[in-house]
Amino acid sequence: MLGIVRGRVARGGVNASMTVRDALNSALDEEMSADPKVFVMGEEVGEYQGAYKISKGLLEKYGPERVVDTPITEAIDHIINSAAKSNYMSAGQISVPIVFRGPNGAAAGVGAQHSQCYAAWFGACPGLKVLAPYSSEDARGLLKAAIRDPDPVVFLENELLYGESFPVSAEVLDSSFCLPIGKAKIEREGKDVTITAFSKMVGYALKAAEILAKEGISAEVINLRSIRPLDRSSINASVRKTNRLITVEEGFPQHGVGAEICACVVEESFEYLDAPVERIAGADVPMPYAANLEREWPSHRVQHSFVYTNVKVERSKITFLLF
């Protein structure tokens, strides 16, 4: 079922658009409708219609037995120690078909404890699948794939993306639409530099690519979609084409997703690199509250990179500005 995008000729002409919120909501609705064993459980998912309104309307449609409001109960322990490991510890006897979904990373002004990006932490755990959608198409396809998947999936959304609208084709709107887990998407083709990003950062990478295009630099933007398993094959193929790589992420730089991508490219495509891999990440500090500092937080590294890259402009031939 995974990886099979049921083909349907997209009807030309009619191109709808959909917010990420609606995409997630419709994916949940369709999967719950198709399989009575699928249910939603969490804080505020029912009567409150979802803390971010993602599960709006589901309680009314499916009832309180399938949309279960829970008391407060929060812990990362079970994701890492039971969900990820039970299938292995039991040698395949006890599988854990569960999706842990919710907002990840920074929103606006929510402070240090509500702003961390956990992609790298979860991405380090064997036994988990970790997805990070960007557009509505990603949100629909990946959430459906996650729900149908028999293993634990951590589905990292982004609060600021919920309200953003993206064009969706008829194929995406079809209830059998599904995206494969473990495949990245080339959002924009290019030949001079590869930029990898996931979640909200894909938007910024695309904007950066636009700016670069005006300078005559053609950037290839890869939307990772899947943090674990990482689509090493697509990343390497792209780097072998462009010979330069910049990784962009929202999270902390040390031991981040960019570090992993850098390592795998160095391992597999070392001879193809014309310049060292550049990592762009959030500042190595907890997220500040003050609005101006919060704005500086991701660009702190970017400015640093900008200066750094400028110094090496001879070699890398890239000017780079995200903000």
Binding site: L2, P71, T73, N81, S82, D151
Partner: protein
Amino acid sequence: MTAAATKIIQPLPLNFTNTTARSPDKALFHPLKTTPSSSFPASTHKLRLTKPNSTLARRRSTAVFAVSDVVQEKKPKSNTFHPNLLITKEEGLELYEDMILGRSFEDMCAQMYYRGKMFGFVHLYNGQEAVSTGFIKLLKNEDCIVSTYRDHVHALSKGVPARAVMSELFGKTTGCCRGQGGSMHMFSKEHNVLGGFAFIGEGIPVATGAAFTSKYRREVLKEGDCDHVTLAFFGDGTCNNGQFFECLNMAALWKLPIVFVVENNLWAIGMSHLRATSDPEIWKKGPAFGMPGVHVDGMDVLKVREVAKEAISRARRGEGPTLVECETYRFRGHSLADPDELRDPSEKAHYAARDPITALKKYMVENNLASEAELKAIEKKIDEVVEEAVEFADSSPHPGRSQLLENVFADPRGFGIGPDGKYRCEDPKFTEGTAHV
């Protein structure tokens, strides 16, 4: 030291509480100050508190009878059928065999560990057999159990073959988890053993989820006959952990078919329960969340069984969860690496005198349910089973290298796409451990 059996007379009303408890004060246990119960369960001794204490004031008096009282009233009349005894001969033999299996198996584990056949963390259950046997022997195959790292005997009582458990402990591929789980992670889909968890309190939410599944299947998927019950076993230390309280709350809130079984053996490694807990009477935590809390003598398999019967049928009838505190004791240290220096030898002696196996044997012989010879035959049979399990485990192969990458995912495409653009798991060399991950 206080203990009294509870006989739950009728379906427990909400907020039913047992009125007896262990030591009234926070002082360390002094077994010599209390009257040990000399025989089982026909004893007329009801151990009382050494001094009255306001924390034990009976706020709600509910009828509580010692099982011994009920038994004592009626004397056995003949050698065969005893309508007034708590068990039939067949049941008695089943219970005895199960406890002997648990004890012999664990003793063999200790031997094997010191011979280097078993390794890592091994936690033995000696002394607590009455709880496992008393509860699990009442379950159907479809009922689930979830346990802690002290899970060998729970798995055995549930029906996992001794040879499968022993192989697992030896790390062999014929183990119940193919050698991938180990001592602390016994799983069996066939027997509905949902683990074996190392983290304190970790199994309780898993058990709560299993109970939720049972309810979901009955009410949403309309499987009307799904009345499966789940038992969660855990210790006294766990009862101070947050997950425990969260699950008590949810189980009572949603009336889940679960029984929370506390194996209170007074010690969490080297931390005495009385030093760690503001109110050491764990059964009281049940009514705080809206479920009955019951305290039972966990060294007496028949008492445990009586309480278990009621708690399990309550759950099966859809009346919700029960918290059962079993006062028990582990004869060995926390694990085989524990020198067990902190526990008072007189405390150990006190509980050794209440060995559940000896007690059941005495009961069966005194009530003419079985002869010494029959019981000896069982012991011999079990010895052979355990020996055979060791031989089987010894001669079983170690897992092949290819097994390393197996069973990480139910859908192995989770390993992602390889350099050739195809899913890694489609590479025939992948599970030989030769493919790059």
